[in-house]
Symmetry: C2
Subunit: 407 residues, 2 copies
Amino acid sequence: MNFKIINGSVTAPKGFLAAGIHCGIKKNSLKKDLALIYSEVPSIGAGVYTKNKVKGAPIYITKEHLSNKKARAIICNSGNANTCNGQDGLLKAKKMAQLQAKALNIKTDEVLVASTGVIGVPLNIDAIKGGIPLITKKLSIEGYEDATEAIMTTDTSQKQIALELEIGSKTVRIGATCKGSGMIEPNMGTMLSFITTDVSISPELLDEALKSSVNISYNRVSVDGDTSTNDMVLILANGLAENPTISEKGEDYYKFIEALNYLNVVLAKKIAKDGEGATKLIECKVTGATSESNAVKLAKSVIKSSLVKTALFGSDANWGRILCALGYSDVDFDPYKVDVYFTSSSGSIKVCGQGSSIEFDENKAKDILLQDEILIEVNLNIGDIAASAYGCDLTYDYVKINGDYRS
Amino acid sequence: MNFKIINGSVTAPKGFLAAGIHCGIKKNSLKKDLALIYSEVPSIGAGVYTKNKVKGAPIYITKEHLSNKKARAIICNSGNANTCNGQDGLLKAKKMAQLQAKALNIKTDEVLVASTGVIGVPLNIDAIKGGIPLITKKLSIEGYEDATEAIMTTDTSQKQIALELEIGSKTVRIGATCKGSGMIEPNMGTMLSFITTDVSISPELLDEALKSSVNISYNRVSVDGDTSTNDMVLILANGLAENPTISEKGEDYYKFIEALNYLNVVLAKKIAKDGEGATKLIECKVTGATSESNAVKLAKSVIKSSLVKTALFGSDANWGRILCALGYSDVDFDPYKVDVYFTSSSGSIKVCGQGSSIEFDENKAKDILLQDEILIEVNLNIGDIAASAYGCDLTYDYVKINGDYRS
């Protein structure tokens, strides 16, 4: 590892401030619902967005504002997705950017907008308008915790991280905060993740780095198969680390990518583990595959299966459901070559050999599956490529949260 | 309608007998686990099978036996899927056919084999061997209830039906029994359905009729997105109705297809309504589409969404989740033209107009959604084609059944 984990999140890189407040979108006044992240100096940005055809209004505005690859601030509300609100939604998303830009004395297209929460309810723009002066005043290095809290909806844990690395003998930092718990499914984002860095990098490479990193992290997570309408991953880079600007794919770029990938995979796993109602993080690692795309498809099919998810909730070594999920993934493999292992902090056990039942110690399997982070390893034994996908178990609480939820 | 519903099931057509017993595969001796359906005269058959790459051993044997399009008996056990059991599974599936053929004094390849239940546990062939003399002796016209009971696993209701129609001034009957509750997902079968008829029809047209009918019925059902390893739909036709043999696609063929489609759609809805833990049947009908395949994809995306399913469990008119599910279906449509209606025995209500929130009476919506059969109508307003898909809500009991289930 060419990097180390440090304390903090989006304000760890030089020149970034953050804040989070309650402005009145969520009914409960103890719950923060407005977050702001700001770079004190001009910075560049990149974004990756949901592929859902029904997109939240903020997606359109943020894409438009990032078309020049410049951005200095992210304003995000939780409690209302500002989606399926027609023209009114677009006007309000734009208004959020305008109001925030004015308060920061920057250009409107330097402000990126995000929303998360219920769909189809008109956004209370007055609450946001009322909150913007306060949140702008509260911007600070210490504000990152409040910002992280303010983007949460049904999340039960904060998801943030910061890393430090050396590039060109300069100290570079990357920080991130993210949220995601329901409506989580591969194919972009499927949650919100805001990343800041003081690295100096060309806008083109920042864009490419973000896309490739999202692809092996958030895009490999599925909580419930529902690709949200509002998901986005945004990165701001202000160059204050003063490293020699990364403008080609050399050693510096790959060092940066290594750290960025690590950061995003950690957050992706946090999202999976905090899936709505989840009690367990499930990683399915498919090995012995003939291609990465096949390995990913198979691994996703396993972690998305309701039957696999409920079996793991019950700590039941029902590997037959894993074989079944592999079988309907539309990927070619030989069922009679598949080996399956369960691994956790309690040990590792082989439960299926050459696609068939083998004898194994059911008590040991139970012990392994009672832990809260489970690795399902599937060896196809037909190649040498591996890939992982991340999910969680399906529990009573998922039903409870979504059967009676209006943020 | 050119047909009427009559009492009974697989033994309603002339010349068919059935039986069901407990032979010892299920631990609970009060639960039947072996079913037999038999035509007293030679008959032809057709089948449609799971597309899962991991297939139960019976699938291979039944396909092989049906290659000559002739079949007179179906032997089916519940409690064990005989899947992922390697060579041993294939030998035992073949053995089931051999033993049953001997008991009936017919050829081995006239017997079709099916199994449903847990995956990856060796099949207790001795129990079946012990049961075959008894079940053969018990064959009767009245045995259809026992046969239906014997193919059930987590099903909570019997699923059977019989129809009568006139073809060429002769009375023709079609009867069927089916099961399906978990591991239910479009793409064939995904359950067991055994259909009998005394119609006289060419093997080729029987095959074609079955395939087209499965496509608009069982293949439009999803309970949990898990395409099972063992699903099959089988039809036997013995010609005892003595109608002029249907050998071309004329009036008689279409009369037969109309009745067959009705029968299979009724059973498909029964499967959806009896989805594991389900409290509600959900039909999503997409209208105003430009093609049937698009309408089906969109309708399936809605009824498969965990968030839609949990919302309906909670009788929550959360139409935003429906828009979201349409949006990630990979079908092209205009989100700003979509109207959404909820309908049940309590009335009908429009909840979304032109892809946006509209005012509606939330109490009336709640009343409608509290019923146990809900129609979600999505009008795309871009064409004139419609199609439906069938599913159910996602409940605490689905988690309970699958989080702690070993049949």
